[in-house]
Symmetry: C2
Subunit: 92 residues, 2 copies
C-alpha cells in the first residue's frame, strides 16, 4: 500500500507524527483537500492524525466528511477476511 | 464509564460481539437511533461494531453521522492527556 497517492495519506503502523507530516506537506502544496485512509487497528491512529492536523497544525482545515466501510482482504493463507476501513476527508 | 446509558453504547476492550449485542438489544427495544462511542485504541473496535451491526444484524439500520474529537482526560498521576474520540450514530 503506498503511503501517499495524490492527495491521499494511508495510515499504517508508524508513529502518528509521520502521517501528520505527510498531511501537512500536502496542504503546504496546492491541495485544499486531503484524504486520510486506514484499515483495522490503524483506524484509531487515523483519527489521532486528523485531530492533530486540524487542531494543531493546519488550523484552517476541518473534517469535511467521514466514511466507514468493510474491505475484503486476502490473508497469506489465501483465505478472505473482512476488515473495517475509514476515510476522513480534511479540507480548508 | 457505563457500558450502556440510554441509547448510547460505550466501546471498551471486550470482544466486539459483546457490543454488537448491546446495540442490537437497543434496536430490538423501541430505539430508532443508537450512539456508539469510543476513545483511543477502542475507536477501531467501534467502527467494527458499527459495520457488523449495519451489515449483518440490523439490516435496516445505517450510519447516519460520524463525529470525531479530542477529549482531555486525567491520568492516574494527575497529568492531563489528550485522547481522540469517535461517536457513530446508527439509525433506522
Amino acid at each position: 500500500m503506498p503511503e501517499e497517492d495524490d492527495n491521499t495519506v494511508y495510515i499504517g503502523s508508524k508513529p502518528p507524527m509521520s502521517y501528520v507530516l505527510a498531511v501537512v506537506t500536502q496542504f503546504s502544496g496546492d491541495r485544499d483537500e486531503v484524504h486520510v485512509k486506514a484499515r483495522g487497528k490503524a483506524i484509531s491512529r487515523a483519527v489521532d492524525v486528523a485531530e492533530m492536523v486540524t487542531r494543531d497544525h493546519v488550523e484552517e482545515a476541518d473534517v469535511e466528511d467521514i466514511e466507514i466501510g468493510t474491505d475484503e482482504i486476502e490473508t497469506d493463507e489465501g483465505d478472505s477476511m473482512k476488515v473495517s476501513s475509514i476515510q476522513i476527508d480534511l479540507a480548508r
